[in-house]
Symmetry: none
Subunit: 291 residues, 2 copies
DNA sequence: TAAAAAATGTTCGTTTCTGATCGTTTCGCG
DNA sequence: CGCGAAACGATCAGAAACGAACATTTTTTA
């Protein structure tokens, strides 16, 4: 028996030989490889069901259950992982529940330094003993952290993360609006949230947005959030927009509010000239953290 | 056919030869080795789930649970700590202090074993595809963890911890009632909570209580919570009380409900004779976890 | 019915994980 | 404060799992 290295060489030779002799075959091969043909096996739905029930599946267990070889199960799991329905691990697969939280944590890190600066500047402008609303968003979460040393605040929020952050502080009364919980960012929206907001009048509201257009319009990705933001603005005396400069370059589909509604913008870099002009017209104060 | 060991030896020889001949390659190799590649183990998600449920995990306990060596568990915990999902302590790991209230964590440990059993029994009796309410309480939180693998649930809760626990699961819609946030246990009460509850009709409600009197009256420490519980009972078809046996010996001032209102009690030890008699009268089913 | 395609089984080299060992650090107790 | 025990981290060999290529079986389709 020849050593393996010789075998490998031989295999390589054979392959290249085939390619040379029958190029059409080689082409077919590569084509088939490129086509991501997903196999429709009877096992897949059942595998997912088992994974949902148990939180995980093992190759070994599925081999026994379906009475097929491990290789077949691996193929199934690999494809389920490719399509994002499961997460592959050594020896099996698990539900991909963790991925959501990780995504949010990473997003939270983005522009972290700028956000902290913005949050600090924003918190400094909020006095003690008043009623504040904090909206969804990573920047508003940063504001919550900076508010921890204020006194006599009543903070209302529709962000479950903010609720947790502020629950550490005895000096602050926290009210949660309630509503449909959004996994991606811990936000609560919907009719319940709006109804709760309508029962208050806020001295200060701190809101974020997904994007800020040149003409000063606040835009967002989520329609649900729009109606909540509108309710907030309606019931607040002073509205502060916290937005790091990355928001100037982004686009988002849903109109939330115009600059008329905003009392103060806190940001880290020079806003676009058009937007600044608009702020002058509407009397919106611009606060830069870099001062 | 050469034995595998011979093959491996040959490979090793080749590698070390390469290392001698081209030292720069050896350096590359070692660099690559230093890169922390995270292992994809099937245990990690389960470890996190256990940590969320119990507030902590021990190396010893996990060794027994997974039937692997302490070294392997340590590796898992180290990596979970590196990625920030747990916090490493001597002998095990705990939830990161940011996610959960510290004093509350300790209370969560109390009667943990009984609570998990009760939660499991309770979750087993809740079908898929229905509307469920989960009230304040450490035992109801344990129920939430056990519900993670249900499908098609709408869960409404006035407990911010439960909202966080369930937000990990894509299969479950979570609605938060909102209300005044209580620092001590993450509960939300008050008019907002009650109003939200009134907008639903629940197939199942899971509630806890601070104490259970001999005559079957459910008692609580907090007046605020009483009106919320009343609203829950009013709007639920099936009400399950989860109460570990320590509740039988406690006293609490506020009357929440009588046994008439409860469909099922899930508990770990024999309820007092008087109470049992009362359950027979009211038709309340008693489920013991020790069965 | 035969060819083609898909699914499954088989083999083999490679990667990754696990358990064992050893030296070091931390914890608990006197 | 010091000591012993337990827990810890690094390292390495062996084992298990893995993926790629190929062979075989089953299903589809022309």
């Amino acid at each position: 028996m020849p050593p393996v290295s010789a075998l490998q060489r031989k295999l390589v030779e054979n392959r290249s030989l085939a390619a040379v002799t029958f190029p059409q075959i080689a082409i077919k091969r590569s084509k088939r490889k490129k086509e991501r043909c997903l196999r429709l096996t009877i096992r897949k739905p059942e595998i997912i069901a088992i994974a949902r029930r148990d939180g995980k599946v093992t190759v070994e267990g599925l081999v026994e259950y379906f009475n097929v070889t491990p290789q077949t199960i691996r193929r199934d799991l690999t494809e389920l992982a490719d399509s994002g329905e499961l997460e592959r691990v050594h020896g099996g697969a698990v539900l991909p529940s963790t991925t959501v939280n990780i995504g949010y944590n990473e997003r939270r890190m983005l522009h972290q330094a700028a956000k902290v600066d913005i949050a600090r500047a924003c918190a400094k402008r909020i006095p003690n003993d008043c009623a504040v609303f904090l909206n969804i968003g990573t920047t508003t979460e940063a504001v919550a952290t900076e508010l921890l040393h204020h006194e006599g605040l009543l903070v209302v929020t529709n962000n479950v993360n903010i609720a947790i952050i502020l629950s550490a502080c005895k000096q602050i009364d926290v009210v949660v609006t309630g509503g449909q919980l959004r996994r991606s960012d811990g936000g609560m929206t919907g009719a319940i949230a709006q109804n709760s907001i309508r029962q208050f009048r806020f001295d200060h509201a701190v809101i974020g947005c997904s994007a800020l257009r040149q003409n000063g319009d606040l835009m967002d990705f989520d329609m649900q959030e729009v109606s909540v933001s509108k309710a907030i603005i309606e019931h607040s005396e002073h509205v502060t927009l916290v937005a790091d400069s990355s928001k100037f370059e982004r686009k988002a589909p849903a109109f939330v509010a115009s600059m008329h509604d905003i009392s103060t913008i806190v940001t880290d870099k020079k806003v676009p000239a058009d937007c600044e002009t608009f702020c002058n017209v509407t009397g919106t104060e611009i606060v830069y953290t870099t001062d």
